[in-house]
Amino acid sequence: MAQRNLDDKPRKSSLPGVISRFPAAYAAGRLLLSIPTMLAIITLAFFLMRAAPGNPYSMERKLSPEVEANIRASLGLDKPLIEQYGDYLLNAVQGDLGPSMRNKDKSVSELIAEGLPVSLTIGACAMGLALAIGGGLGVVAALRQNSAADYSVMGLAMAGISIPTFVTGPILSLVFGVWLGWFAAGGLDLGRMSFYTIFLPVLTLALPQIAIVSRLMRASMIEVLRSNFVRTARAKGLSEARILWRHAAPAAALPLVSYIGPATAGLLTGSVVIERVFGLPGVGQYFIDGAINRDYPLVMGVVILYAGLIVAFNLIADIAYGILDPKVSYE
């Protein structure tokens, strides 16, 4: 579903026309499908988390049995697991993600509300940067196919997907943050995001995506440049620049649309590293802390949030792709 551009599904041609093409039935079907998807994810995460050894209240000091029993009761952990699962689902459907078991002063919803703006801003900026730079590099490489420029762009792209973010992050922070002092080495300025504070994390997060986008764009652009309609346009005597920017590049960018889904997943998981390396207060860090602290509701909250985002972006990408590409039809 996520990667519609793969030729793994037979496609019928259909009539063009953007508005009339909005696939209402298909979208509704996909929305319906996202319900079992989310349910499966929630179920798996719930029981995995409970299968982990340890519990949220185990700590350096042993509590008195009475205190422990009271804690278990207050967290609902004394009920049978399947009942807890039912309770959780019921509450989650109503938007109540429960209290955080570790953060005694805040609920999971509050924590997510604090962290999400940071994660989203950085993720969106990284996505924008990846599409802009990656797309541009891809076009350049495609136009100068097999030239030095092509090879260097593709070499860079290779490096981009081969160097882990937790290596690039600290190095960028050290060079541009500490040595050169151009950007913040880490942290936000008392919760305020600014170009100065988030540029390095955004760049670190975007680098692998830039690499992937540029490779996608290059491959797709090469195909488009060979296609009949570009030849036709050339035959009609349109200027090269016009052909390139009005016809070829937009058509070639099509596969990028269906990449938005996987890219979202990549950015979200990447944010875990970025937040740790740059000391940013985002949602990804909650997940790690929650998993280590056995803060069941916090882990579940983040999983639901991220899975929801991934499902939503996959859906949007698929529908947008269908609208934009006349070759796709929705079975």
Partner: protein
């Protein structure tokens, strides 16, 4: 960190190669041989594998031997610490070899698991088609939406950080794209004359799948395998970075990098594993690309 390998149009190329039959393989090999980056990568990777497998056996130092008077010394030929020693006075070169061995092993195990599940699942769905195919691919769609790395972290928490169990688990969630590619291929293959002929002459379905379908999937699967390996290796290093990876005194490239990152003033501790890792990943990616281009030359 993407846990799912980016599919960069490989399946498209593959399907064409498969459709046009085996005669293409000779051409493909010739094209691969002309691809300098890929050929260099094959040699480089071969060298790395040999070093990883045999290096620790012949090296004068043991990977867990601690030299208490030689802590964190920079690379030197004295006592043959050509890459220096780490913060515990252990020879970095041999630890690097062991780390490379672990990382590669982990990559291979997880990829094999994903290969087996993916091929079985995809071939079954594609060959049977119809409702079964629908259901099986819907299941793939559902799992596809999971935030993978999160589940991998949860699995490490559950399995108490036993690295090989973890990588069985990574393999078990890494097969989705493989299944999709294989299914697509199978769908086309089963319309082909030789399959039709086999079916007409009463060959049982299991035999058709194993004899006729699976061998013809080799191309796309090979490409996807080379592209999955680096992704799995990256996933392992990511876990090590979070402190959830391999157990001491064993090590992996990811763990070595994360240790090196902690000691930026002793750059060789970071550079040696980082460069090794990047070159192994680059080699794998170049080979994967080269293979794809060789089988479908249109993009180059």
């Amino acid at each position: 960190m993407n846990v799912t390998a980016p599919d960069l149009g490989g399946s498209r190329a593959m399907s064409r190669a498969a459709e046009e039959g085996r005669s293409l393989w000779d051409d493909a090999r010739a094209r691969l041989m002309r691809n300098k980056a890929a050929v260099t990568s094959v040699w480089l990777l071969g060298g790395l594998v040999i070093i990883a497998v045999f290096g620790p056996m012949v090296w004068p130092h043991n990977y867990d031997a601690i030299y208490r008077d030689r802590v964190a010394i920079s690379p030197t030929f004295e006592n043959f610490h050509i890459l220096g020693t780490d913060m515990l006075g252990r020879d970095l070169a041999v630890r690097l070899m062991v780390g490379l061995r672990v990382s590669l092993a982990v990559g291979v195990i997880a990829t094999c698991v994903s290969l087996v599940i993916g091929v079985a699942w995809g071939a079954t769905a594609g060959y049977l088609g119809g409702r079964v195919d629908q259901i099986m691919m819907r299941i793939v769609d559902v799992i596809y939406a999971m935030p993978f790395i999160f589940f991998v972290i949860l699995l490490t928490v559950v399995f108490g950080q036993n690295i090989f169990l973890i990588f069985l688990a990574i393999g078990a969630v890494e097969w989705l794209t493989m299944a999709r590619i294989v299914r697509g291929q199978t769908l086309t293959l089963r319309q082909r004359e030789f399959v039709e002929a086999a079916r007409a002459s009463g060959v049982p379905p299991v035999k058709i799948v194993t004899r006729h379908i699976v061998p013809n999937l080799l191309g796309p699967v090979a490409v996807y395998v080379t592209l999955t390996l680096p992704v799995v290796i990256l996933a392992e290093s990511f876990l090590s970075f979070l402190g959830l990876g391999v157990n001491e005194p064993l090590t992996s490239l990811g763990l070595l990098i994360s240790e090196g990152r902690e000691n930026m003033s002793k750059l060789w501790l970071l550079l040696a594993p980082a460069l090794t890792m990047v070159s192994a990943l680059l080699a794998l990616n170049f080979i994967g690309d080269g293979l794809r281009d060789a089988i479908d030359p249109r993009d180059r």
